[in-house]
């Protein structure tokens, strides 16, 4: 019994669903951010598995770029969270209703 690319894709789908549910269910901005990281990693895993299945390196190049974008996103997002926390003393996104109108 060999592990085919489909197994990795299925695992990536499950990880993505867990991350998406975390993004939807939690109110803590930090945990929501970690869920986004989880979803990005699931996408990366499917890139690598598909690239191996096709015998090309493009999947790994795509993973490289996704990692760079994710690093930039984490840096800016965490800075925003810290800035919001300085002014509002909360990390819960439900308390940030200033734009609600």
């Amino acid at each position: 019994m060999t592990v085919t690319a489909g197994w990795y894709l299925a695992l990536a789908a499950v990880l993505f669903v867990v991350g998406a549910s975390g993004l939807l269910l939690r109110r803590n901005a930090l945990v929501m951010f970690m869920s986004v990281e989880l979803m990005l990693n699931a996408a990366n895993l499917s890139f690598v598995a598909a690239g191996r299945q096709l015998g090309v390196l493009d999947g790994q190049a795509a993973v490289f770029f996704v990692m760079v974008v994710a690093a930039a996103e984490v840096v800016v997002g965490l800075a925003i969270i810290v800035t919001v926390f300085r002014r509002r003393a909360t990390a819960s996104v439900d308390d940030l209703a200033g734009l609600k109108g």
Binding site: G22, V31, V56, L78
Partner: protein
Amino acid sequence: MVELVLFIIFGLAALFGAVTTVWARNPVYSALGLMLTLFSVAVFYVSNGAEFVAAVQVIVYAGAVMTLFLFVIMLVGVDRAEDRRENLPVQRPLALGLLVLFGAGVLVAGRFAWVTGSGGGRSAEGTVEALGSELFRRWVLPFELTALLLIIAAAGTIALGLFRRGEAEAADEGEAGEEEVAP
């Protein structure tokens, strides 16, 4: 055979870490669960022949990004008083139904044999040399753009960190005074 055993062990570890990330009440546990998942995904990269990406995953993600997360958790503090009550009458069964539908879709899709190329080629060894020549030949322009993106992100972070005295307090004068942060 080895790959199967590795897949089972680290697949379970990845799932456990992911569920811990979402379910843990304490954000520090969430961060540790995410770290477990990241390491497991790195193992999957190695078993898929992507050694360089696995090394980057461990160094950048599990090293730098998670350290950043833990630092921010330390700054923001562990907020245990997260309110988990929700008023969702219809959405819960709807979400369960959609989840079952999605799982069925994944299982059905997994049974097809997707032929989208030659396939089966073992030329995709993700060594530093192979990936480097790929990045610096075909993907030179996006690679340079990532440098620009990182510089912009760093500058934006510094700007966000600098705007605190003066302007922020002047803006807070108009708002409610009880929101003043007491560090």
